[in-house]
Amino acid sequence: MLGLLTNFAHLSGKTDPVILGAQIALIGGIIAVALVITILGRWRWLWYEWLTSLNPKRIGVMYLIVAFLMLLRGAVDAFMLRLQQTIGSGGGEGFLDANHFQQVFTAHGTLMIFFVAMGLMFGIINLILPLQIGSRDVAFPFLNSLSFWLYLVGVGIINTHLIVGGEFAATGWLAYPPLSGIEYSPGPGVDYWIWSVQIAGIGSLLSGVNFFTTILKLRRKGMTLMRMPIFAWSVLGSMTLVLFTFPILTVALALLALDRTFAMHFFTSSFGGNPMMYINLIWAWGHPEVYILILPAFGIFSEIVATFSKKRLFGYTSMVWAIIAITFLSYIVWLHHFFTMGAGANVNAFFGIATMVIAIPTGVKVFNWLFTMYKGRVRMSQSMIWFIGFLFTFTLGGMTGVILSIPPADFQLHNSLFLVAHFHNMVIGGVVFGYMAGLTYWFPKMFGFKLHEGLGKAAAWSWIIGFLVAFIPIYMLGLMGGTRRFEKFDPSLGYHPLFVVAGIGVVIIGIGVVLQVTQLIYSILNNKKLADKTGDPWDGRTLEWSVSSPAPEYNFARLDEVNYRDEYWERKKTPAADLVKYKDIEIPKGSPIGMFIGIFAYLFAMAVIWHIAWIAALSIVIISAFVVARLNDDDIVKTIKASQIEKIESSYGGM
């Protein structure tokens, strides 16, 4: 009746202080938030304005909040890992044994990629993309809310083991079989991992369908593809990759789950199973995934550099082609993740060269940004500091990447700390810096007030310096032969001093995070002083700056045709004085069904993890019922009256 939960008692027997701390923090946090909402009497507001909202601007903010909370958890994990390695390389025991260390880096990697990076990406896309292409909404508003809830379900599943006790996967963030098979990982840890990633992944896939359609079908009249802002282009490239690769992730995870739950033999080490097939599938998704994350960051920088240099983006057409080339190339390089696994010299050569070729379009983009700044009136705002940090660190990471793409070199560096330094170079220097830049740039558009500059700059510098101090030593340790995923190193190897330096770097990054939190709190408290009344605080070039900050629910009161690439920039030169009457606007009503489906998706996952067939089946039936209810509902739009629009528009006096 209760599946594996029947033996639950033996799991919760042993509590260790780390888990206990996490439990107290999590449960305490949830209770505290609930209390505050109750005291403020905000439940109704939360329900109608946020949880059931189909407005992409609201959904985007929810993504951002969750992603930030997960960033904090992922950073705590990272801190524990480094602290352990620092102690463990000096001869100490440390506080994490091998098994716990493995669980922590698995959780860290999974959280950071799926729930931090992806969350920040979809948050920013939701908030900015429709505005940038001059649309009032995304193509499928309900699907968008469903995607968010599935993402949140993934977050819930990966954090569940902290509350109920038990273990998480100790397999690394991609859970290679046969280690992740039932034979070698019999506990529920890998199942938590599978279903967390699977459900969040399906959410991302649905988002991919949604934004791909939005970009291709909902652009403002007159906005041809070659007039589309580069950020929108980069999202188009990223979403194309989502469409082509997330189904492969779905397959890989599903087959692994079938192996574990139904004794199938896809990836087992006997009965004819083939673990290499999993490794191919997971990387056919995994490599494009890093480009899914980095392309929008490139797009963000293109917008920022043009705006803060007060110049048109240099080489627009070549930027577009670079995006297209990267989208295509990133799909045919996945094998560079396992050069050492016996594919043979010719195959390795092909994938090695294909990998190196990606450096070319990437280089094109870097030079375009530099030429945009050249002779521009560059303003060193906080977004630009992130850009400068990105430029140097990302170039460094690109070069170490090219080193790794040479198969003979990779035979030495595979699974070493050099690799760890390389990919953190890309994900911190590229993805994190990019999204932070985007957040500071569009923050006024999202919330109506700017973030404090000084604190922001200090935070950015802390991240940049902290990153270098934290990861240059890791490069060196890798070259010295240090292997990744170890919690202890023999002191005679002499790794300890470099780990200490790296640890200092992590502390500096930590200071950066603290500064960011301070910046956020300070800016919220001083939001009157930092308010953006014009809607265009940076003298922007694209359509999102043509509406008030934050944008009204309907985005644009009027749908004037687009005639230029930098449409808003041109409009500012020749302000139109015509007074067209506003019309009523129809927008989607809120719906709680996305959340309900999410709740039962969570229940379904838990039931599968704990082998409770009847709950799993029931959840599927209920989910289907909700889908049908939604499809059968014809009353899904509400109207905003023209008079109301007139009031909203005149209160800010925009155009």
């Binding site: 193509a139 499928f140 896939l205 991919g208 369908v209 949604n210 791909f212 359609t213 291709l216 079908k217 909902l218 469409l243 082509f244 690769t245 997330f246 189904p247 492969i248 779905t250 397959v251 890989a252 087959l255 079938l258 192996d259 139904f262 004794a263 199938m264 033999h265 896809f266 087992t268 006997s270 009965f271 004819g272 199973g273 083939n274 097939m277 599938l281 749908l559 019309k583 009523d584 606007i585 129809e586 289907s624 049908v628 499809l631 059968n632 014809d634 739009v637 109207t639 023209a642």
Partner: protein
């Protein structure tokens, strides 16, 4: 011009259809992943039976013909919807679904007899990949049948609302897509797998 800025029907239909095409493409990728896995594992019988020993091609050919017929009738469904011929629409839709049910029944029968003979998905990697590839298609057919029932219901209660008509069209796309996937399964799994190489 009306006084409301609302998405017009044509735009709604266009974006929905496009979005559905995009979804079908992702589903295509899903099947591509399963096909690739099957291709890699199909000879890994681990001493157990191979496709040559297991597949009954006459039976599968019958299944195929039934699915093809239902796909043809599904074409008539879409045509009747365009002509707004409710009688034919409902009737053809029912026949499409019925043939789908027969197809699915035959597939379940095939699976059951394999399992009863001791050749379940746990026997070898080959059989795991066979059951999952064919079963995933079967699952899609099942979803299609449920969808068809809901369409009947909506047609009954809502009549020719534009949104219902769009859904009939999407259902047609979905059903034809499943047909195409099945042709691939028939060719690569049953025909080629049935050859003694």
């Amino acid at each position: 011009m009306s006084n409301t800025d609302r998405e017009d029907e044509q735009m709604r239909e266009e974006k929905t259809t496009f979005g559905f095409w995009v979804y079908l493409m992702t589903d295509c990728m899903l099947f591509a992943g399963l096909f690739a896995t099957y291709a890699v594992l199909r000879n890994n019988t681990y001493g157990g039976p191979s496709g040559f020993e297991l597949f009954n091609q006459k039976f599968v050919l019958t299944e195929t013909l039934i699915l093809l017929t239902s796909s043809f009738i599904c074409g008539l469904v879409v045509i009747s919807a365009r002509k707004k011929d409710m009688d034919r629409l409902v009737r053809y839709l029912a026949i499409t679904g019925l043939l789908g049910v027969i197809f699915l029944g035959m597939e379940i029968y095939e699976f059951r007899s394999l399992i009863n003979e001791g050749n379940s998905w746990a026997t070898s990697a080959f059989l795991s990949s066979f059951f999952v590839l064919v079963g995933t298609h079967g699952l899609h057919v099942f979803v299609g049948i449920v969808w068809m029932l809901l369409l009947q219901w909506q047609l009954l209660f809502k009549g020719f609302k534009p949104i219902v008509l769009t859904r009939v069209k999407l259902f047609g796309m979905f059903w034809h897509f499943l047909d195409v996937v099945w042709i691939f399964i028939f060719t690569f799994v049953y025909l080629l797998g049935g050859l003694k190489l």
